[in-house]
Symmetry: C2
Subunit: 405 residues, 2 copies
């Protein structure tokens, strides 16, 4: 259940609370990614101590390894991984297409830059052909290959929901077809329309089986529908209207965007979706995106970026990212940020962290991930507070000026 506590004047932004069987999520919130039932390099206590409210696992990965039956037997995702708070699972749609079709490493939530648009047309054609070659889509569902051993698997909307019922997260997503950011209009439209039919089937299957899940675990899972349509305004509007009319507990906004058009797209999508329901922006979470998303009605975010870049030594600071491996940090005995209250900044110097990365110690990833997640999770908390204090625009201007200067 979603309660709106305060609204941003003349905008769609709001402060709220989403109540789940495993606790309340104060929104706007950044949800920490724990793809394979673990936040990479962190203990659940470290995740909780940095201020995270909820963790998002991945249906595609958890189905392949360890298997949703094992997580069900363990008592569900949060018992399995020892996380005492709300959990999400995404539907596996994005991974089926990106990892299953083998375009994963080049895939991006934003379209290719305009200055390579001629080139991107060729990439688009190429991706589409790889896409259709390695992933077989029909009306029923998608055949894909495991990224672990190449074995063949078949996901339908019903299968995705069955797996997510087994995994037992508090918030689950309808199964969608996720299209490459460089795909052409006609294919985006075709995929979107299929996603709408799959949304209906996801909802029907869940309504028929959720009761059972509820009875056996004491949990009532929330099911979110996903809006698609890529970077095309007419498709996004159509998708928001159709998905918005279905009886979902909340909504995810998936697929790719044009970076310049993110604010406009999120505004008209969220304006068309039911206002009283929670909205999650899937897989996007750079600082500027967070301000744009929240201003335009997004209530929660997830993104692998804070932990992924942390493992390469890239750290967020108020003045932009720094690469801690640079030799200038090897004799820098100051904190990453003087006024940061994260565990890493409270106990370690840049020199130590720089050493750990150079020495290839695993603990480097732990300390860097704690700092980056703290930075993003607490940025969203500060944005939340700024709406309550009616100082959103001041914070936005001050933060973005420093960060991108």
């Amino acid at each position: 259940m979603f309660k709106i506590k305060k609204k941003l004047k003349n905008k769609l932004g709001r402060v709220g609370e989403f109540i789940t069987p495993n606790g309340i999520i104060e929104t706007p919130a950044f949800i920490v990614v724990g793809t394979k039932a673990a936040v990479k390099s962190l203990s659940p206590e470290q995740v909780g101590n940095l201020g995270a409210q909820a963790v998002l696992g991945n249906t595609y990965h958890l189905y392949l390894q360890p298997g949703d039956d094992i997580i069900k037997k363990a008592g569900g995702l949060n018992k399995f991984m020892n996380w005492n708070g709300p959990t999400f699972t995404d539907s596996g749609g994005f991974q089926v297409f990106s990892l299953g079709a083998g375009f994963g490493s080049n895939e991006n939530k934003f379209e290719f830059q305009k200055n390579i648009s001629n080139h991107s047309l060729n990439i688009s054609d190429k991706v589409q052909s790889v896409h259709t070659k390695l992933v077989k889509i029909n009306e029923d569902g998608v055949e894909f290959r495991s990224c672990i051993d190449g074995s063949r698997h078949f996901f339908t909307p019903e299968k995705s929901i069955e797996i997510q019922n087994n995994i037992g997260a508090d918030i689950i997503f309808a199964f969608d077809e996720c299209v490459s950011s460089s795909a052409e209009y006609n294919y985006q439209k075709e995929a979107m329309e299929r996603t709408h039919r799959w949304a209906k089937r996801s909802l029907n299957y869940n309504n028929n089986h959720r009761l059972e899940v509820q009875l056996s675990s004491g949990n009532k899972q929330a099911l979110f529908g996903i809006v698609q349509g890529g970077k095309f305004e007419d498709l996004r509007k159509k998708s928001a209207k159709i998905i918005g009319k279905m009886d979902f507990d909340g909504f995810g906004i998936g697929g790719s965007f044009s970076k310049e058009g993110l604010d406009k797209t999120l505004h008209f999508v969220n304006d068309l979706l039911p206002k009283e329901k929670i909205k999650h922006l899937l897989g996007i979470g750079e600082p500027s995106d967070l301000f744009i998303g929240i201003e335009n009605g997004i209530d929660s975010f997830d993104c692998v970026s804070p932990t992924r870049i942390a493992r390469t030594g890239m750290l967020y600071t108020k003045h932009g990212r720094i690469n801690i491996i640079k030799v200038k940090y090897s004799r820098d005995f100051s904190k990453i940020e003087d006024d940061c209250k994260c565990y890493t900044c409270e106990n370690y110097t840049k020199a130590y962290l720089s050493h750990l990365f150079r020495a290839q110690e695993m603990f480097a990833s732990t300390l860097a991930s704690i700092h980056n997640l703290y930075f993003i999770v607490n940025l969203v908390k500060n944005i939340r507070q700024s709406i309550l204090d009616e100082k959103f625009y001041e914070l936005k201007e001050e933060f973005l000026k420093k960060y991108y200067e």
Copy 2:
């Protein structure tokens, strides 16, 4: 300063306390290895919570990376790594010869098995020739190559102590020549005699410089001499007599042993060394070795084994080691050990740990390392308590019967 609290009747074993500038070490104690100023995959809080009293860093590695000058500027090893307790550094002797000469991965603290003794003669010759080729030893010191970039470096006893003074651990070791376990008698004798001359030089250098270290940091480092002599009884006895007469604060017993002769060797070495001083067995720490060592007068141990095998999925249990990656554990929702009080056993199942290893999650190493270190650190604590309770032999028989059955 070392205080003996209780002795094992008719044996050399004892319970004691070693007072360092950063706290008391209750002996016998297992010292956790943090080679590069970090216990692999663990935070200092996780290390403290599992019961560890002290951490041992490595002079060779820390000299090469980040450099002892950086650790000195950071305020010493425990400030640099955020460990609020005693620290050790070994002298770098073992690493100079094992990593520097490139025989590291095959090197063992015990001699080759007898059933391959013909073969081992050939290996011995080969190792000796590699040894003398890549590491140039003269009376002054040793020239070796960095395991990171192949650059050339020269360690003398004075240089090793200077580095260890800079790193600023509570307990440091004299520089020794560490010979391959398969080396022949004449070479062991020659190396041992050089080690004795180097011990004297280490002690002299430290006596002339320790005062300065003491004044600048408020710390008085303890310097331990190292007994060498390999598997040869006459050499070990000679080394114990000569090193034992020097004015060290304690003693390390280094080099290699014959596995069957460990108890006898440790007995006569510790019987010849001054009884009132603390003795550390370098780099040995399998459960049976701990009982043998403590019974024969060893007060502290260090060994990479608990964390190294943990990272491969090998876990200690009272009934011997298990490999958690085995498929039979993937659906085993019990703890590693029902009565284990470690963080891992209190919060996670075998199925989860098995999944984390298969999914190649870093957190697998963290959980496995916590369990293995807890197992070994607390085994030594239990042995300590058994001496206080006059039940050492009962514990030894019961434990070893279960563990090796």
